[in-house]
């Protein structure tokens, strides 16, 4: 659709802008202020400049947390995006099963995040959980509170359980937008199932996938409540992701300045990666 140039459209965006700016820009500025000072108490503070940044960038604990985080987030994307697309392709397109499948598929999305942790805790424990008991009884050593690999996989499985449905819903909607004529033409052209996916369905999913990838990336990069409840970051620090590290720093140790400096680094990482995703996917669908 060719849009009309009209800068008065800004007035329509203004409410959103003010509302979001109020809750986003002011806290962001404050965090920047924190990050360049040493705050002993609300009335005693010193300007320290780039000191915290230098310190945080060289902190090995944070570096390893960042490494874990990146591996986790990319695993999440690598599993959930293809799986979500696949399930979306399996969804029924007409009849009462549409509504039923949608309700069932959407259910995990509406579980409060800490309850997700609880559910998986109860499900995966070696003594009372269905998963834990089953795995142990067929001879697989599984205890997510002790084995770090087991813990890591449990967190990953939990995230897949919780969030794949978001990708499914978005892709399902994207798929429904494809006119029947495309499928008919493909049948007549003798296109294989894979060719139909590659040349008809995937290009039409680009828009929803942009959003799905961005949302999943950002949210998984900031995962906090679920692993906190499930593993508490352990065993050791195998499932301590960035958010948790920050929370410990900011809340438990009340080291707000260092935490602020680190938050900003963290923010820049998400911003850069998100921008790259956004640009790649939106540009790929143009020209």
């Amino acid at each position: 659709m060719n849009k009309v140039e009209n800068n008065r459209a800004w007035f329509l965006v203004l409410p959103v802008l003010l509302l979001v700016a109020f809750s986003a820009v002011i806290p962001l500025m404050t965090v920047v202020n924190y990050s360049i000072q040493d705050i002993l108490d609300p009335h005693t503070r010193f300007f320290v400049g780039d000191e915290w940044f230098r310190e945080m960038l060289r902190d090995s604990q944070l570096q390893s947390a960042l490494g874990r985080q990146l591996i986790f987030s990319f695993s999440v994307l690598a599993i959930q995006i293809p799986l979500g697309i696949a399930i979306a392709l399996c969804m029924p397109t007409r009849g009462i099963w549409v509504a039923i499948s949608l309700v069932l598929v959407a259910l995990p999305l509406l579980v409060p995040w800490n309850v997700v942790g609880t559910i998986w805790q109860l499900f995966a424990r070696g003594d009372i959980g269905l998963l834990g008991v089953t795995l142990n009884s067929i001879g697989i050593e599984y205890n997510y509170t002790r084995g770090s690999t087991a813990a890591w996989f449990t967190v990953l499985a939990m995230d897949v359980w919780h969030w794949t449905s978001l990708v499914v819903l978005l892709c399902y909607s994207g798929l429904r937008a494809i006119p029947d004529a495309y499928y008919q033409a493909a049948r007549i052209d003798g296109a294989s199932r894979i060719a139909v996916f590659r040349y008809i369905q995937l290009p039409r999913l680009a828009g929803v996938l942009t959003i799905a990838v961005l949302l999943r990336f950002m949210d998984s990069f900031m995962i906090y409540a679920e692993p906190f409840v499930l593993t508490g970051g352990g065993p050791g620090s195998s499932t301590t992701f960035l958010s948790q590290h920050l929370a410990t720093m900011a809340i438990a140790q009340f080291d707000v300045s260092r935490a602020a400096a680190f938050s900003l680094i963290y923010f820049l990482i998400i911003l850069a990666i998100s921008w790259v995703f956004y640009t790649i996917i939106t540009r790929a669908t143009k020209d």
Binding site: P42, I265, A272
Partner: protein, 90 residues
Amino acid sequence: MDWMVWTLPSALFFTTIALILVGMTVWEVVQPSTFRRGLLPLKTTRGDRLFIALLSSAWFHLGWLGLTDQPVWYMTIFCVIWLAAVLRWG
């Protein structure tokens, strides 16, 4: 406002950003920009180039702080030049 623990450098920083945004907007109103292909490997508008320049400047600063012990000002001066260069040729 006290709880926001303002400092002069950060205040200057945000003022600069705000001024740049206002400036860009005025520029855009006076002379609308179009997509073009410069040294950057993608077609950009002026606003895209500003964003790319700012984000990369932030990263340059982080790299500088993480890898050297030199004062941060060197990098800042470089980034001002970088910003202008990206806007001009990017």
